[in-house]
């Protein structure tokens, strides 16, 4: 089982690398942020089909038939695990206060929150500072590179994809030794994540003319904002075509 998981991970990595080396099918209307668009669109529709048929129904069932306290506990548990990784990455970005707070969160929640099932750190003022390795690279100036849609994993960038093997190799769930528990934990985490996204994805499909580019543009902006901790350089205020003096005003 473990070997097959490894093989799964490796094949994802290989797909990514192959895409990166062969892709670049640029057309005349290619978006500079998305040279891999033709490939990405295929993967995205594969992901959508999988989501429609498996993941989303499972998440809806989970949301509707699991008691709310259980759902919250599950969420908190996995968030606590991810706070460990945030602590490391805040450290790698030399953010003293954030590192200390993240560490305190893990300690407080793991001890007083019973393995993280209760989030007791937030009410006492210890805020989350989610960071991952992709953000750490971005912090030190590594550009995100083109947009990539990974099979199963969804939206990503070349930079974030390149560190995925590392992220997985330090992941508590995928590294867990007891196979049955690991499988349960992996599936639960996935469903918890999907359930938390249900409203967002419903809204997304109503808001978008073209779901693919809407998702891409949201994701890239969102990710960039994360790298700059909510304060990206204010470089691109859009032009206002309606202000052109020659323009006939619509009002």
């Amino acid at each position: 089982m473990r070997a097959s998981l490894k093989r799964g991970v490796m094949s994802v990595v290989w797909v990514a690398l192959t895409v990166l080396s062969t892709g670049c099918a640029t057309g005349p209307n290619a978006n500079p942020k998305d040279p891999l668009e033709p490939m990405n669109r295929k993967v995205a529709s594969f992901n959508d089909a999988l989501d429609d048929n498996v993941l989303k129904p499972a998440a809806i069932g989970y949301r509707d038939y699991t008691p709310q306290p259980v759902q919250t506990g599950v969420s908190n548990f996995f968030r606590n695990l991810s706070d460990v990784w945030s602590t490391a990455n805040n450290g790698l970005q030399l953010k003293g206060r954030e590192t200390a707070e993240s560490l305190m969160r893990v300690v407080v929640n793991s001890v007083f929150g019973i393995y993280g099932i209760f989030d007791v750190a937030t009410p006492i003022g210890l805020e989350r500072h989610p960071e991952d390795l992709g953000q750490t690279l971005g912090y030190w100036g590594v550009p995100s590179g083109p947009y990539v849609v990974l099979p199963l994993f969804g939206p990503s960038t070349v930079r974030d994809t390149s560190v995925l093997p590392v992220e997985l190799s330090v992941d508590f769930v995928t590294k867990h030794d007891v196979v049955a528990e690991r499988n349960v934990a992996s599936v639960t985490r996935l469903i918890d994540k999907r359930a938390s996204l249900l409203q967002t994805t419903d809204m997304l499909s109503g808001a978008a003319i073209d779901k693919y580019s809407f998702t891409r543009d949201s994701y890239l902006q969102y990710r960039r904002n994360q790298v700059y901790d909510g304060n990206p350089p204010d470089d691109d205020v859009l032009p206002d075509p309606s202000a052109e003096p020659a323009t006939p005003s619509a009002k």
Partner: protein, 214 residues
């Protein structure tokens, strides 16, 4: 599915909608700073939504009324639509520009309508303004605080053309600017099918949304 785009994103979207929707049109003294403007209108809108059960349950007609009476006077929607449409805007006739605004507005209202029920105990914290007193365009940064982690919600505001107060022309939820997010989709449609094609796609989308929300 990116792990960090969580339920919070949704509720902030709801809230941002609320904030845009709720901006009351009180033309205050010219001197009102941009951050005070945002604080006032977002507070008003939150109160209005909390007070009205039918908005909470997503009554689209009620929401449209709220938008027209209280939101639109505080938003430069012409500018919002034009910059989302991009260079194609100048090729559009005045009639097409009018239709673009109508359909874009309908899309946003319809999209946000369902989200308004999420608004409950949140409060808005406006961050210190970093702008000179005579700036014509200002970035106002706020944070929505409720249950869970705080959510980033920023506005770009401009001095209104008549000099009376401010108007919002873009907003950002967790780093995602609304106008930017529609730009490449709109450009795509215009490149493929022209301005009328974009209008038709928007109208289609709105019809589909109207059906599914019934």
């Amino acid at each position: 599915m990116n792990r960090c785009l969580s339920r919070r994103l949704f509720s902030v979207w709801a809230l941002s909608a609320a904030c845009v929707l709720g901006m009351t049109s009180t033309a205050h003294a010219v001197e009102e700073p941009a951050d005070v403007f945002i604080k006032r209108v977002s507070g008003d809108i939150l109160d209005a939504i909390k007070a009205d059960k039918s908005i909470h349950s997503g009554d689209v007609n009620k929401i449209v009324v709220l938008v027209d009476q209280r939101v639109m006077p505080n938003v430069n929607f012409l500018r919002m639509t034009a910059s989302a449409v991009g260079p194609g805007w100048r090729q559009a006739t005045p009639e097409q520009q009018k239709r673009l605004q109508e359909e874009f507005k309908a899309l946003l209202v319809r999209t946000y309508a369902g989200a308004l029920g999420q608004v409950n105990d949140q409060t808005i914290v406006v961050k210190p303004l970093r702008a000179a007193a005579d700036d014509k365009e200002v970035l106002v940064r706020t944070e929505v605080r409720g249950k869970g982690d705080p959510i980033q919600l920023d506005y770009r505001v401009e001095k209104a053309a008549d000099g009376a107060g401010w108007k919002v022309y873009n907003l950002n939820v967790m780093g995602i600017w609304l106008v930017e997010n529609y730009r490449s989709q709109f450009a795509q449609e215009i490149n493929a099918k022209g301005v009328d094609g974009l209008i038709a796609s928007l109208a289609d989308r709105n019809k589909t949304n109207a059906r599914t929300s019934k």
